[in-house]
């Protein structure tokens, strides 16, 4: 009897396991297939795409579409390729991520270790920014940028992303620091460290995991943003996503699908890169907030 039940247990275990693997493999393929198609088509001459099967492997591989997408393709009215816009995106995303993460860390520190009257309400209000749809803020934001004289400029776009990012970065850091023992802060106060010294010497050195989570999150969101880019960036400040859209839309003659594919991959590369480099810490950081120790 006992043996029989054990047997069933082993068998169900195996069946469940097989089922889980099948599902996982299915979804892995489901997500990888489009990427695979993009990659193979980005290294085909255009004729191979238009004449035949999108799924076929390239007969005559070429990197010309990549070169074209990067430096010569027609974007809007000019044939500059995606290069200058890639640079715009970098110039936008790096300060925006850095500033919003730094402010989020500072906010989280204050909201957990320097409690004051109404701090929970303030935090609740900040969380609103995580849930307000982008479209709602477009017009007020345009107005404010106008008042500040930042309309259409890169700093204006950075400001928008910082403001929008603070909600999430504050949420991350606040929850992380909530689990951080307050006695350490008290101890540092007795030791004679002030507000910033405690932040710099005690809190920040142990904030690595959550900083990684926050940076990945902000980086992906800001890099992939299209709406703010298209609404607030002037021609000279347009980010990669907007340029990619223009590349795909603007071809007057033939649609160069291979160039479009190459451009799309170029646009996705930085986020992919960030995930590959820091993905491990991402999961670890997400766990660290909830499970103390």
């Amino acid at each position: 009897m006992a043996i029989a039940t054990q047997d069933t247990a082993v068998r169900t275990g195996r069946i469940t396991r097989t089922f889980i693997y099948v599902v996982l493999i299915f979804f892995a393929l489901f997500y990888l297939l489009p990427f695979f198609i993009m990659v193979i088509n980005s290294v085909k001459p255009l004729s191979e795409i238009t004449s035949g099967n999108m799924l076929a492997l390239p007969q005559d591989p070429t990197f010309a579409p990549w070169a074209s997408a990067w430096s010569t393709a027609q974007i809007g009215v000019e044939a500059t390729g995606l290069k200058p816009y890639f640079l715009n995106s970098i110039l936008m995303v790096v300060p925006a991520v850095a500033i919003s993460t730094a402010l989020g860390a500072l906010n989280g520190y204050i909201l957990t270790k320097w409690r004051f009257r109404g701090d929970t309400i303030l935090f609740g209000l900040m969380l609103f920014s995580c849930f307000i749809p982008f479209q709602i803020v477009l017009i007020p934001m345009a107005r404010i940028l106008g008042e500040l004289g930042l309309s259409g400029s890169l700093p204006g776009l950075i400001l928008v992303h910082v403001v929008y990012g603070i909600g999430f970065s504050t949420l991350y850091f606040r929850n992380y620091y909530a689990a951080f023992p307050t006695e350490l802060v008290k101890s540092a106060m007795i030791d004679g460290a002030g507000f910033f010294r405690i932040f710099w010497r005690i809190m920040l050195p142990v904030s690595g995991p959550i900083a990684v989570v926050c940076i990945i999150w902000q980086f992906t969101n800001i890099w992939n943003d299209f709406l703010f880019g298209v609404s607030f960036a002037g021609l000279s400040a347009q980010p990669m996503t907007v340029a990619l859209n223009n590349l795909v839309q603007s071809s007057t003659g033939v649609k160069e699908y291979n160039v479009h594919f190459a451009g799309a991959i170029l646009a996705a590369l930085p986020t992919l890169f960030v995930y590959i480099v820091a993905g491990r810490y991402f999961v670890r950081g997400l766990m660290a907030g909830s499970v103390k120790g």
Binding site: P181, E183, L184, K186, S187, A188, M189, I190, D191, G192, A193, R197, R201, I202, P205, V206
Partner: protein, 372 residues
């Protein structure tokens, strides 16, 4: 002028008062223990001395200076926390010198002090480790070392031993006591463990519900408790509190209680002052420590008033060096602490010897002492 003066201090959170007019004077070199059950306000009081909580009313002064509005780092105190609060990203050495660094003490002096204290606490070999690589006992030592290097006027300890296992706790207790005797610094020490309080202190403040119930030496608090709370909180097993009646017996005052079978028994009192006399023919609570009830051989020879009390034994519990004997008096369980080879047998009759010199009397309504 006392060294640390807690003068009529109150603390409120919103309109809830959690500390009521606490008034304690601590002399230089004293080891004051704040003891009481969870939530009685010990940590709050300690944090107020440290400057981590602000003071709602009254004054705290250290070394002649009112510190109510002085920042924690300027009060010249050092604190050891229950969780040790070691900075996880710094080595032991950096942890211990962080305070001096913040106070702008030059590196050579920091290193010299660090070496001195590390030697004193025998943690020289740990200085390059991170707190995560230390055992609980070692962390405890480092936390004390961090306090010691500061050379403070007052040391504050908040339940520093409660995270250690039983054996280590006893060892560290002895070590703290030795350290205090060696250095002679003023210490305020919070614990909810009455044994720690009795062994370490030069004076104890027993607290309950935000009130200081009694302030005195270990002996005063133990032998001469101010009220029923102190009597039952200090001591383990705790003092027997037996409902009784004050009666006149051959011209002397006695406490009348009933034995296991409900027969009245009279125990002549050693102290019969006006407070007791005022309670003649009234109900009182008779408090007797377990060790004041023994067999005839185990009784204190120097006691002036030993009374014999015959009663049925309910349970005996041998505990190595002692045997605890439980009986019923006035309908309540009452514990006697006897020599290991006392003859009491469960279910049998036994003649207990009660040292009435050690007995105390309380008013059942106010719970205060009536025979002081």
């Amino acid at each position: 002028m006392s060294f640390l003066d807690i003068d009529n201090v109150t603390k409120s959170y919103g309109n809830v008062e959690v500390l009521h007019r606490v008034d304690i004077d601590v002399q230089e070199g004293e080891f004051l223990v704040l003891v009481g059950p969870s939530g009685c306000g010990k940590s709050t009081l300690l944090n107020m001395i440290a400057g981590l909580e602000n003071i709602t009313g009254g004054n705290i002064s250290i070394n002649g200076r009112v510190v109510n509005d002085v920042h924690p780092s300027k009060r010249n105190i050092a604190m050891v926390f229950q969780s040790y609060a070691l900075y996880p990203n710094m080595t032991v050495g950096q942890n211990m010198t962080f305070g001096m660094e913040m106070h702008g003490i030059p590196k050579p002096e920091r290193d010299r002090k660090l070496a001195d204290v590390a030697k004193l606490l025998q943690i020289e070999n740990l200085l390059d480790r991170k707190p995560g690589q230390l055992s609980g006992g070692q962390r405890q030592r480092v936390a004390m070392g961090r306090a010691l290097v500061r050379d403070p006027d007052v040391f504050l300890f908040d339940e520093p031993l409660s995270n250690l296992d039983a054996k280590l706790r006893v060892d560290m207790r002895t070590e703290i006591k030795k350290l205090h005797q060696k250095l002679g610094t003023t210490i305020v020490y919070v614990t909810h463990d009455q044994i720690e309080a009795l062994t370490l202190s030069t004076r104890i403040a027993v607290m309950n519900k935000g009130y200081v119930q009694q302030l005195g030496t270990a002996k005063e608090v133990y032998d001469d408790p101010a009220n029923m709370f102190v009597a039952s909180f200090m001591g383990s097993p705790s003092m027997n509190l037996i409902p009784a009646k004050i009666v006149e017996d051959n011209g002397a005052l006695a406490a009348e209680i009933t034995d296991a079978s409900g027969r009245p028994v009279r125990l002549r009192l050693s102290r019969d002052g006006a407070g007791v006399r005022a309670h003649l023919e009234r109900r009182v609570i008779l408090g007797i420590r377990p060790e004041a009830i023994t067999d005839a051989e185990g009784a204190d020879r120097r006691a002036s008033n030993l009374q014999v009390l015959g009663n049925d034994v309910a349970v005996t519990e041998p505990a190595g060096s002692d045997t605890f004997v439980t009986m019923t008096l006035s309908g309540k369980d009452c514990i006697a602490r006897m020599r290991a080879d006392a003859e009491a047998r469960a279910g049998a009759h036994f003649d207990f010897t009660v040292n009435m010199d050690k007995a105390v009397l309380f008013d059942p309504e106010t719970e205060e002492r009536i025979d002081r």
